[in-house]
């Protein structure tokens, strides 16, 4: 595909998927301004990708860029926060969540790698192999993490996740 044709196709996709891209960014950043910053950076990255890196699957490629940008932004934020002497965990070491906790809160307390899998699989309706591609981990890792995430969310295990 030529650069211009690719740019055209990508622009069309980005314009149509603005809501979904923003929600994915928001699910990591959890505030509007940071989510908007992530969308902006990710869109610029996608639009300025070199022809050599043109993807086979637009959707998983764009999602990967959004996730990558959000994670980098979170790392930057964590460093800022830590340097201000705030000790803020990422939830990774928290005990299993109580069933009584509000479900949304439970979701936002999941470690980012587990939360991302739930969000991509169930809210963005990606296949598990697409989730694996977006997050850059293998399919078995996705399955294991999804199992852990559902357990932490106190969702009864059913076979629909596999």
């Amino acid at each position: 595909m030529t650069r211009d044709a690719f740019h055209e196709e990508l622009s069309t996709y980005l314009k149509a998927e603005g809501d979904r891209i923003y929600r994915l960014a928001y699910s990591y950043m959890e505030n509007e301004q940071d989510a908007l910053d992530v969308v902006q950076t990710a869109v610029v990255k996608a639009l300025s990708a070199s022809p050599m890196r043109q993807p086979r699957y637009l959707k998983t490629w764009v999602y990967r860029i959004v996730v990558h940008t959000a994670l980098d932004s979170l790392r930057a934020r964590k460093r800022r926060v830590l340097s201000d002497d705030w000790a803020l965990g990422d939830g990774a070491d928290d005990p299993p969540l109580d069933a009584a906790l509000d479900l949304r809160q439970a979701l936002s307390r999941l470690p980012p790698d587990l939360r991302a899998i739930v969000i991509l699989r169930y809210f963005h309706d990606l296949e598990l192999r697409e989730v694996a591609e977006v997050l850059g981990v293998n399919l078995n890792t996705v399955k294991t993490r999804l199992y852990r995430a559902l357990r932490l969310l106190n969702v009864e295990m059913e076979d629909d996740h596999a």
């Binding site: 650069r3 211009d4 690719f6 740019h7 990508l10 622009s11 980005l14 314009k15 603005g18 809501d19 891209i21 923003y22 929600r23 928001y26 699910s27 509007e32 908007l36 910053d37 969308v39 902006q40 950076t41 869109v43 610029v44 639009l47 300025s48 022809p51 050599m52 990967r64 860029i65 996730v67 990558h68 994670l71 980098d72 932004s73 790392r75 930057a76 460093r79 479900l103 949304r104 979701l107 739930v118 969000i119 169930y122 809210f123 591609e133 997050l135 850059g136 981990v137 969310l153 106190n154 969702v155 009864e156 059913e158 629909d160």
Partner: protein, 297 residues
């Protein structure tokens, strides 16, 4: 789907999306046109005199100060880098420190013109982006709000002698986060040609594997407290982050010692706080693979 998940999905889909998301994406799609890179096999049509006129008109059309020719110090004997325009803009806290430089003294005039045209275009694109971004932010937040934004350019001659001329141009911008993009222009002074990685090596040799094995080993050797690498070469790093090797069009320069240096942009192989990593390749690793006229020692 499990009822609890269905409930969560409804909540997720109810996340309010600020209306400016769409305007922003539309706007970015319009602005971020794919940028044609320097193509040497195509003759450059723009005559030098014509380019200069266009450029002067360009300067005058902008609210900026263009100063007369000034030499960047510490340079080699023949090739010189001149700053032909300096833009120093301050607006509501946003600052631009953008210089536009030109090369003189290359043997290959066509190559010199091509590089200079690209230097002008890139510098002016950065300036235009600064002005658009300031205007945008003023529109969104008003005339009173302080805009924290800085755009800067840096030129550094990595090597200049009778063998090689290597120029590094750094485009830096900060607005919340920051990013640094570097471009390298390496000229073989003996042949007058722009040096590419391929041209440094004899045909058929698998120099990329040798270089990549070395780079990855070096990256893995620099570890954090948890024993993992600082660079994105760990097995559990995101696949899209993970560095698996450079390609033949990767950024590099040749330093004063005559060594090949592989350069990375910010975020390319490591988190932002590692900046723009560089790796000097030991010549003994690649010596058997080098082309005969490669200006590497």
């Amino acid at each position: 789907m499990h009822e609890r998940l269905a409930e969560l999905k409804r909540a997720y889909e109810a996340t309010p999306v600020p209306p400016e998301v769409h305007a922003m994406i539309d706007d970015l799609c319009r602005r971020e046109r794919p940028r044609p890179r320097l193509r040497l096999w195509r003759p450059v049509a723009l005559a030098a005199a014509c380019a200069l006129v266009v450029f002067v008109v360009g300067i005058n059309a902008l609210p900026a100060v263009a100063e007369s020719l000034e030499e960047v110090p510490v340079l080699g004997p023949v090739v010189r880098v001149l700053t032909i325009a300096r833009y120093r803009l301050e607006e509501q806290g946003a600052s631009a420190r953008i210089d536009i430089a030109q090369i003189t003294g290359l043997e290959n005039q066509e190559l010199e013109d091509a590089i200079n045209a690209e230097l002008r275009a890139d510098g002016q694109a950065l300036l235009a982006k600064f002005e658009r971004d300031v205007a945008d932010l003023k529109e969104r937040f008003g005339e009173q709000e302080t805009i924290r934004m800085a755009f800067e350019t840096y030129y550094e001659v990595k090597r200049s002698d009778e063998e090689v001329f290597s120029l590094q141009v750094e485009y830096f911008w900060a607005a919340g986060g920051s990013d640094t993009q570097r471009e390298y222009y390496n000229v073989n002074q003996r042949t007058g040609e722009l040096v590419t990685l391929d041209a440094l090596f004899a045909a058929g040799g698998d120099y990329l594997t040798v270089i990549n094995d070395y780079l990855i080993a070096q990256m893995k050797a620099e570890t954090r407290e948890d024993g993992k690498s600082l660079y994105w070469v760990n097995d559990d790093d995101l696949e899209m982050d993970r560095f698996t090797g450079i390609e033949a069009d990767h950024d590099f320069y040749i330093n004063e010692a005559g060594r090949l240096v592989i350069a990375f942009d910010k975020y390319e192989v490591a988190p932002g706080y590692l900046g723009t990593p560089e790796f000097e390749i030991p010549t003994e690793l690649i010596t058997d693979l080098l082309a005969e006229d490669a200006p590497i020692r």
